[in-house]
């Protein structure tokens, strides 16, 4: 438990200023294998998908990559700070709508969202530019909310983030002229190629890794494990939490923008409790304190959901077709989640990261 604390401390003393950089490089070299392996895993999935050439499968894998971005975004804050946040899907919502504002054909925008400012009505950007801007917009919102919320900790912080999500949802569900209220905003250019999503997911993973080994990330993990000792060693906990909150807000915004481009339609309720819980479940089942856990959780749960869907649609076994009754898919998913959590309360990966030498602790 105290490993992260001692590591953070070892970089603090001023006598070590000269040695700090090499120490950081050593840390980077020791841990870089994890994001590389995770990226290779995703790349393998993408390659298999392209080779099969099946369109529905393609869409499924795109969904998986979007979820990877979202769950990695959650991990950056929740995993490193230990504070459960229910509000991050709010940033996804902001990102998705920002992407919609920036990419919909100006003619259509004038009709459906007349309340937008004039310059925004004129703008039409390619999707990757809009995704970057959407991420920045979400990060800005995270900065504003975070300034207030990061003073809280524990369950009060969780509820406050939840209140933030509900606020964003209420505003976006009712601001007719700017967000189209609860009706769906259509006309977002749909990107059906798998590569942008893969790149997004890989970028998210590397951002998470870079944040985790940065001074701020180490300090934050020290504060997660030993808040009193960390505060006594000069860690400004609200500040480090704010940094993580903003970084994760940006990643969530990126995920939101890509999600908007993957389905082409946004409504406020797409980005509410359902998505919040499914992404949180993926993170917790994979292992809250581990980046690999987040990614593995997404891939496994998505595979499970897909398998159950196939079973529900019916599988032919020899002569007879075998199909599950409707609704069994969700029930089975819930039961499996409970069983996994009962057997492994700290998630599949616990706090371990994926490396070539299995079993190395997340330090």
């Amino acid at each position: 438990m105290g490993a992260a604390a001692s590591l953070a401390n070892s970089t603090v003393p001023s006598a070590a200023v000269a040695e700090r950089k090499p120490a950081r490089f050593a840390l980077a070299r020791r841990t870089v294998l994890t994001p590389v392996l995770l990226s290779l895993l995703l790349l393998a999935i993408a390659l298999i998908t392209v080779m099969t050439g099946s369109r529905p499968f393609n869409q499924t894998v795109i969904d998986v990559f979007v979820r990877v971005i979202l769950v990695v975004g959650l991990y950056i804050f929740i995993g490193n700070s230990g504070v459960l946040s229910f509000g991050h899907i709010g940033f996804t919502c902001l990102g998705a709508y920002a992407a919609a504002w920036l990419t919909i054909n100006p003619m259509m925008k004038r009709g459906s969202l007349p309340g937008l400012p004039e310059w925004l009505l004129e703008t039409r950007l390619p999707y990757w530019q809009s995704a970057v801007l959407a991420a920045l917009f979400a990060a800005l919102a995270a900065l504003v909310f975070g300034r207030v919320l990061m003073r809280l900790s524990g369950i009060a912080a969780s509820i406050a983030t939840f209140a933030m999500l509900a606020m964003i949802n209420t505003v976006y569900s009712n601001w007719e002229s700017v967000t189209g209220a609860t009706s769906s905003v259509v006309g977002i250019p749909i990107v059906r190629v798998i590569w942008p999503y893969l790149i997004g997911a890989v970028v998210a993973i590397f951002i998470a890794w870079a944040h985790a080994i940065s001074r701020s990330g180490l300090a934050l993990r020290a504060a997660r494990d030993e808040p009193t000792a960390a505060a006594a060693s000069g860690v400004d906990i609200p500040k480090e939490r704010l940094v993580a909150f903003v970084v994760s807000g940006a990643v969530m915004g990126l995920g939101g923008a890509l999600m908007a481009h993957s389905i082409g339609v946004v409504t406020p309720d797409t980005f509410y409790l359902g998505l919040t819980f499914i992404t949180l479940s993926m993170l917790v089942i994979g292992g809250m304190g581990s980046l690999s856990g987040g990614v593995v959780g997404v891939v496994l749960l998505s595979a499970l959901i897909q398998a159950l869907r196939w079973l529900e649609a019916g599988v032919s076994l020899g002569e007879s077709t075998f199909a599950l009754p409707k609704g069994v898919q969700e029930i089975a998913l819930g039961v499996i989640m409970i069983v996994i959590l009962a057997l492994r309360p700290s998630g599949l990966m616990g706090r371990r990261e994926l490396t070539l030498t299995l079993g190395s602790r997340n330090k």
Binding site: L84, V148, L149, R151, L152, S153, G154, I155, A156, I159, A160, F162, A163, M164, A166, M167, T170, V171, N174, T228, L273, F277, L280, S281, V284, I285, M288, P325, K326, G327, V328, E330, I331, L333, G334, V335, M337, I338, L341, A342, P345, S346, G347
Partner: protein, 301 residues
């Protein structure tokens, strides 16, 4: 004026009962029970015969009220205890996040079980229609149901207070809420107390289900969720683990919603909930431990 007061009180009653159900369980096992809303939905649908038609086939709902009420309460308590035995017992040692996700997964299972039996279409039923008639009090016309809601809540609250203060079981439960391991060492049986808490919380969920079902006349699988969220927030604002705080915060939230509905300018009214949630954040900033901080929940160093 009186109308507003009664609106606030009856909405607050629902929130308070919900918050109480969540706080009871949190008190004894530090579990934030997301399945609570689905227990509420289950209790309402217990009145119907399973069918996927749009027309509701009323089954238990036809019972006379003196049988109907105990039946629904038993349903709630039974389901809640069953959840404890099958699921939550395995999570006593787990950390709060894991328990929370487990309870969410359980709620998911209950919800889709209902969906399988009843389909997702909202169903309309008229339950005890004589309660919807208005009565006149001091010049204001109020639905009889609102009065009954408020009176019932008061009776439940007083009854629960007496139960917790005067009986041995109540004493054990309060002891367990304050310091669980110490209470066990002094001879409080953990399983009994926890099951008792779940049974009480389930019965409270059933009470909400009844009131809400009669009030709206439509049954919807999602209906538990909205109340549950507010109740959940009320539990935290009230001070997690503090039963009095939960009730107080429930009434405050109800009052805040109704007052904002009346006071806000017309343009801002659709955004009422955003203001309520903003107020929640403000309260948390000034009192992160809740309005009435429960003893024993402070983090010790």
């Amino acid at each position: 004026m009186l109308q507003i007061l009664f609106d606030a009180l009856s909405l607050g009653s629902l929130y308070a009962l919900g918050a109480l159900g969540i706080a009871l369980i949190f008190g004894v096992m530090r579990l934030v029970n997301f399945a609570h809303g689905d227990v509420i939905a289950f209790c309402v649908f217990a009145l119907l015969w399973p069918s996927t038609d749009a027309m509701a086939i009323v089954f238990a709902g036809q019972l006379p009220w003196y049988l109907l009420v105990p039946f629904v309460l038993l349903c709630g308590a039974g389901l809640s205890v069953l959840c404890e035995i099958i699921v939550f017992r395995r999570f006593r040692q787990a950390n709060p996040a894991t328990m929370m996700i487990a309870s969410f997964a359980l709620g998911f299972v209950i919800r889709y079980f209902l969906l399988m039996l009843f389909s997702s279409r909202p169903k309309s039923i008229s339950l005890l229609p004589e309660l919807s008639q208005p009565v006149e009090i001091l010049g204001a016309r109020l639905p009889l149901l609102q009065l009954i809601t408020i009176v019932t809540t008061m009776v439940i609250l007083i009854g629960l207070t007496l139960f917790l203060r005067q009986t041995r079981f109540g004493l054990e439960m309060r002891a367990a809420a304050e310091n669980f391991s110490m209470a066990r060492m002094l001879g409080v049986r953990a399983n009994r107390v926890i099951m008792g808490a779940f049974a009480l919380s389930g019965a409270l969920a059933a009470a909400i289900a009844l009131i809400f079902g009669i009030q709206t006349g439509t049954l919807d699988i999602q209906m538990g969720a909205s109340i549950m969220l507010m109740a959940f927030i009320a539990t935290v604002i009230g001070g997690l683990g503090s039963l009095g705080g939960a009730v107080l915060a429930g009434f405050l939230l109800g009052a805040a919603s109704v007052i904002m509905q009346v006071m806000l300018p017309i343009d801002a009214r659709p955004f009422r909930d955003a203001f309520v949630y903003g107020a929640v954040i403000l309260v948390l900033l000034f009192r992160p431990q809740g309005l009435i901080a429960a003893r024993g929940t402070k983090e010790r160093v």
